[in-house]
Amino acid sequence: MSAPLVEIENLNVRFHGPRTVHAVNGVSLRLEAGETLGILGESGSGKSVTLKTLLRLLPENRTEIGGSVRVDGVDILSLDGRALADHRGGVASMIFQDPMLALDPVYNIGEQIAEAVIRHEGCDKAAGWARALDMLTRVRIPSPERRLKAYPHEMSGGMRQRAMIALALACRPKLLLADEPTTALDATVQIQILLLLRELQREFGMGMIFVTHDIGVAVEVSDRVAVMYAGEIVESGSVRDLIRDPRHPYTKGLLAANLHGAVKGARLQAIPGAPPALDAVPAACSFAPRCPLKLASCDLARPPVAVPAPGRSVRCVLAG
């Protein structure tokens, strides 16, 4: 088997400021070419931070990154200047949560796409615009010629996200990073965008990491899912295994808290408590304070990563 497209080993991210935040603590994950990994977790679980590390988009001056991050065999953490810029958008590119905020309001869509193409492929303006038109057609924006000249504020939310996807894919990246790309959209538009993403991913043969807090969305697009909690991956495995047989109490809780199949009038099963503050590196299981199955040993040390079946991992003492 060839080297994986993405290989993250023991990633640690700290933000320094008035207080230090240990946002990501010892995350390791792999992504094969053409595969889709869903990272599932609630706000502050470190999923977006992990994703942004792959493009080194975190503010340099107050972020401390440890561990190793390799994309397509290249050590991302050692990239600098032009090499880093070549990586961004060329090898890996990102779709942001809210395209209204992530697109420049005073440049039209065509310019913004063409600019990226010209930057990465060194082609002339005409070729850049031709690619922009081609991309808008591929993401199925109606009357793409006209939309090239449209500004972000002149488009609907779904259309903007399509334009964002067109921009992200314009330079044929090997890795697509999607940071909650459907969270800001209407439910009906969400599904269209998800289907489009899945289709384009196959067509372009890209690997994709899809960050979301919505289990339904994660199940819809992913081959494998990694569940994050308090800066750690608590469980990962194929979508099928994870849904049918969740091993970590947090994953079980998430699945139980889902609206699907809930009886009207009955109380929803929420996980009691709130995630811990990340002021320090967790010395014990971070989920222990909320865990219904907690043992005495859970408070003493971080549970080891157990591998209950091939391709699965669970960070819980009960899983081993």
């Binding site: 990102m94 905020l101 500004y151």
Partner: protein, 317 residues
């Protein structure tokens, strides 16, 4: 776009009307008799009445206003009471001089202000930012006539590099773009440029800092743009506001800085205005204020139009 310009042009008509009324009334409401400055103190009542009649001051205000507007529309701003020369001619000369001074000062101020603003915004909270902010605060708060005098003392009196006053050997009438004349322009222009420099620098600094903190800048980096490419986005986002501020500053400077033009005896509108006020020269005062106000209105219109061209979000609004 053309429709938009025409529409905006149409909207300026009521503004122009309002401006003319205010100009006219202000001057007439002000206490004091315009004729006292030309007539000897012991002039007979009959002579005073006669003079009033000649200048039309005896008629009802509304009629005076109507006549004044009618003549103004034909390009006739009346005759200066103090000098007996047509106001329009005096104004034309003064306007030309002030325009030169104001445009040059605004350009210097804009270029330096943008430079300081971008540096301060990009390197926020560094010593460069503090230095640039310090310079711009000085620019905004230093009394300009005082700065003018200091510059005169240094460059004219001590070093003897540049002339202290005037607009050249032939006065204001025969300006030419040669060193003999241009050297007269340098000190007043530099003194004047300090005002827009400070304001533009502060505006641009705030703009740049705000733009850099927005997510679309991360978006530009995420698509692989180098710093130069990202800078282009910052500039285009900052341009509409920066240009608007520059336009308004030019407007203020066109009013001529009475103080600066007086310090340098620069024969511009500010100087003229000062003279008109002290001599209670009604036609000259009225004409000058009106023309300056109209300039300001036109400049606002221009700024709006340019802003619309630069920022696609404004047009539909």
């Amino acid at each position: 776009m053309l429709v938009y310009v025409l529409k905006r042009l149409f909207y300026t008509l009521p503004v122009a009307f309002g401006v003319s009324v205010v100009c006219f009334l202000l001057v007439h409401i002000a206490p004091g008799d315009p004729l006292t400055s030309v007539l000897p103190p012991d002039a007979s009542a009959q002579l005073q009445a006669e003079m009033r009649k000649i200048y039309g001051f005896d008629r009802p205000l509304i009629v005076q206003y109507g006549l004044w507007v009618l003549k103004t529309l034909q390009g006739d701003l009346g005759v200066s009471i103090a000098t007996g020369r047509p106001v329009a001619g005096e104004l034309r000369l003064a306007l030309g001089n002030t325009l030169m001074l104001a445009v040059l000062a605004t350009l210097i101020g804009f270029v330096l202000g943008c430079l300081f603003g971008f540096v301060a915004g990009y390197f926020r909270d560094s010593w460069l930012d503090k230095l640039a902010s310090f310079v711009s605060i000085i620019g905004v708060s230093v009394p300009h006539y005082w700065l003018g005098m200091v510059l005169v003392i240094i460059f004219s009196v001590q070093l003897n590099w540049l002339p202290a006053t005037g607009a050249g050997p032939g006065g204001s009438a025969d300006w030419a773009w040669d060193w003999v004349h241009v050297r007269h322009l340098i000190l007043p222009a530099v003194t004047m440029s300090v005002i827009p420099m400070g304001i533009v620098a502060r505006t641009v600094r705030a703009l740049v800092a705000d733009i850099l903190s927005q997510e679309f800048i991360t978006g530009q980096r995420a698509k692989g743009l180098l710093d130069v490419g990202v800078f282009r986005h910052v500039v285009k986002n900052a341009a509409p506001t920066a240009l608007a501020v520059m336009g308004l500053q030019l407007g203020y400077l066109l009013g001529g800085s009475i103080l600066i033009e007086t310090v340098f005896s620069w024969p511009g509108t500010g100087f003229l205005l000062g003279q008109a006020i002290f001599q209670r020269d009604l036609p000259l005062l009225q004409g000058t204020i009106l023309v300056l106000a109209m300039f300001f209105v036109a400049l606002n219109l221009l700024v709006d139009v340019v802003q619309t061209m630069l920022d696609p979000r404004v047009q539909r609004a």
